[in-house]
């Protein structure tokens, strides 16, 4: 068998960490041809998530962790592309959670759908709870004036928090700082 490589493939020679392609030294990362800035997931968070799933005495080698992270990014890429397709088919312009769930189903991750959906519903409930006034659940019924007033109120609250209550915010009504207990009337 002829050992000479076919003319169209570049000669690859490996010396230390650099790979020479056609005698041009390239860093291993360049070869993969990544043109876009690659966002990855934060290592620390990922490490914690991984470890939480295992018994405490099981260790994960660093290269294994890195590989899991890469796999996760690839997973997001895959589901994103599929969600995009689903979204296109429905002729919508924004990728919504429903599209993602359908994508998961289509790609064989149907087992995840139930849990993911439950978590999504839970999140929706939690966000309504954490908003103090709960008025946002009726956001569609608010007029613009009401929404503006609500916004102003929240800004004022935030300002008051920032100032630590030391300076009086611009309010026409100079109320005394802090609640005062009702003064008992003295009947002498």
């Amino acid at each position: 068998m002829d050992h000479e490589p076919p003319p169209e493939t570049p000669t690859i020679c490996c010396r230390s960490n650099f790979v020479f392609i056609d005698r041009v030294a390239m860093e291993p990362m360049d070869i993969v041809g990544r043109t876009k800035e690659d966002a990855s997931l934060p290592k620390a968070t990922m490490t914690k998530i991984i470890k939480e799933m295992l018994p405490p005495d099981v260790r994960v080698a660093r290269d294994a962790q890195d590989l899991i992270i890469e796999c996760c990014v690839e997973f997001i890429n895959l589901i994103s592309s599929e969600s995009n397709e689903v979204c296109n088919k429905e002729e919508k312009r924004t990728i919504a959670p429903e599209h993602v769930l359908k994508a998961l189903q289509d790609l064989g991750f149907g087992e995840y759908v139930e849990e993911v959906y439950a978590a999504y519903e839970q999140h929706k409930l939690e966000t309504v709870d954490t908003v103090k006034t709960g008025k946002w659940s009726n956001v569609a019924e608010m007029t613009e004036e009401q929404a503006l007033a609500e916004q102003q109120r929240m800004f004022a609250e935030a300002r008051a928090r920032m100032n630590g209550g030391a300076t009086v915010p611009k309010q026409p009504d100079p109320e005394p700082q802090g609640p005062q207990p009702p003064q008992p009337s003295l009947n002498t």
Partner: protein, 116 residues
């Protein structure tokens, strides 16, 4: 310092605004989604949340499968090869096969692929 307020929980990412179970940052997920394709449209605010949970489940499955490989080999440390093995042996992880074999070939001298 006082409680950061209602919205910081959302911005910090994750399904629970509390510092309980760790969750992936939504902004980062969104960035990866946008990188995945040139044609990606607008992404609803809630989509990354769904992704976050899906990723956790994915990580769980991959990690546990890799760990089973480690257990069989009677080791207590999960190595890269265990992860690769788990990927290769799981149908739905087919999309990762190239990724794990590409990784394992980096550590060896690359062999020119010759098709007879």
């Amino acid at each position: 310092m006082r409680h950061p307020g209602a919205y910081s929980g959302l911005l910090a990412g994750g399904l629970s605004g509390k510092t309980g179970p760790h969750s992936l940052p939504l902004a980062r997920i969104k960035k990866i989604m946008k990188n995945s394709s040139d044609e990606v449209k607008m992404i609803s605010g809630e989509a990354p949340i769904v992704f976050s949970k899906a990723c956790e489940l994915f990580i769980e499955e991959l990690t546990k499968r890799a760990w089973m490989v480690t257990l069989k080999a009677k080791r207590r440390t999960i190595h890269k090869e265990d992860v690769a093995f788990a990927v290769i042996n799981t149908d739905i992880f087919d999309f990762l096969v190239n990724l794990v074999t590409e990784n394992s070939s980096k550590s060896e001298e690359p062999q020119p692929v010759m098709k007879a």
